[in-house]
């Protein structure tokens, strides 16, 4: 691999992000690079304004919000976001529940947008959260549209349980994916967070490949089974609109 100092620097950056606030030795171990090198990277990144010593405990390192500012303009982010926000907004107003927009990132679903419910009881998920695919409605929706090879690989990996309700058995997950395909939407009952139920639908990008997903989430007391079909179909309609805008069904070209 080329430009190894850059590779090291980025790996340090990611390690900081994961261990927030992170100590020097800790990072050195994590990245498996001598402390001297890690420190040099941290200093350089600090000069550039991407990391800083924590105010609380100096000599602990943290990411700055400048990093957030620079990275916020995610590409496939932008394209999908632009296509999705209009329809998503309408969906939120229709259902009055929180809606999320998520895209895949290294085996997780990354929440890139959120529109809030006006209800006092709110599902809360900060932007930038990464959710395990098997434990979220967005993830299962994405898997239902992803190609088989990807699904096989994902299910072969370790599957963590986030709540007692999280399904981690690959066979059951496969069945749930099949149900999602048949039904058009996924259902997650408290598998991500106790008390939260959500319904997800996949988005297709150009060429019809899975590009992300949207979901409707709320407290399990409000998102009851009687509403699944209504919400699922509303979300599916919205997803269709977005996928169309992304050129999923475009005939031109190729």
């Amino acid at each position: 691999m080329s430009t190894q100092s850059v590779v090291t620097a980025i790996r340090v950056l990611e390690a900081v992000s994961d261990n927030q606030p992170a100590g020097l030795s800790e990072l050195s171990r994590e990245v498996d690079v001598p402390k001297a090198t890690v420190l040099r990277m941290l200093r350089t990144l600090a000069e550039l304004g991407w990391v800083a010593q924590s105010e609380a405990q100096a000599s602990k390192w943290v990411l700055t919000n400048h990093a957030f500012a620079v990275a916020s303009r995610g590409s496939s982010g932008s394209v999908i976001r632009d296509a999705a926000m209009g329809p998503l907004n309408a969906l939120q107003l229709d259902t009055t529940e929180t809606v999320h927009l998520a895209v895949p990132d290294r085996g997780y679903m990354l929440i890139i947008e959120r529109l809030d419910t006006p209800h006092v009881l709110r599902a809360f998920l900060p932007l930038g959260s990464r959710l395990p695919m098997h434990a979220s409605s967005t993830g299962m929706a994405y898997l239902s549209a992803a190609d088989d090879a990807f699904v096989d690989e994902y299910l072969a990996g370790p599957l963590e349980a986030l709540t007692p309700q999280t399904v981690v058995d690959p066979a059951r997950l496969r069945a749930m994916i099949a149900d999602t395909r048949a039904r058009g939407y996924s259902i997650n009952e408290q598998g991500l967070s106790t008390g939260i139920t959500s319904i997800g639908v996949p988005l297709l990008g150009s060429g019809g490949v899975a590009a992300g997903s949207i979901s409707i989430s709320g407290p399990s007391s409000r998102i009851v089974p009687a509403k699944y079909e209504e919400y699922g179909e509303a979300a599916a309609g919205t997803a269709l609109e977005i996928s169309r805008a992304l050129g999923a069904f475009s005939t031109k070209g190729y």
Copy 2:
């Protein structure tokens, strides 16, 4: 400056972020580094999953959402966010308007959180947006709490007008900052975006230094002068609560 290849890589990354989708020569000019080097950096960053060739036009480079995922956990972000979300949530429910949480980043206000209004007519600002300080209520609120040296420096720089209503005259801006100080909240009438009015209040971090700001925004048809005082005071109360949580008025230590 040390580890210059890392510096170059990050500068390339920021250039990509700013020019999205960016071509090779363009980036080379922007960063003032030979094309060969820029390309090497792009390839390395691509291997790491931070940038990718645009799907639309190959040989144009874009940021990936992985960059967003890593950088989302901004530190001072996190601390402020944790302290702010509770009170902000209450503020949003009280006013039913969109509320924003912003922190300073290199002369701009960076929007790090948003809670939406249930109204159909919505002010819309994607997370990660950077707003000029003089053109936003969050920015003016921040300036009203920042030290004089910072304000002088900011006002000395070029001040762009985003709408016909944007105030760019330093003298008038100074007067507005003084008003904001006296009143406790800033008012921005369509200076950022036509049809949008917003009200901002600064947040103080530990030691009482300006750390960010919050705002209430909505269509100018709804956020009318008759409501300024009500909203301003509600926001000021919320800000006080957050600042207190951040240790702005703590007596211990030092």
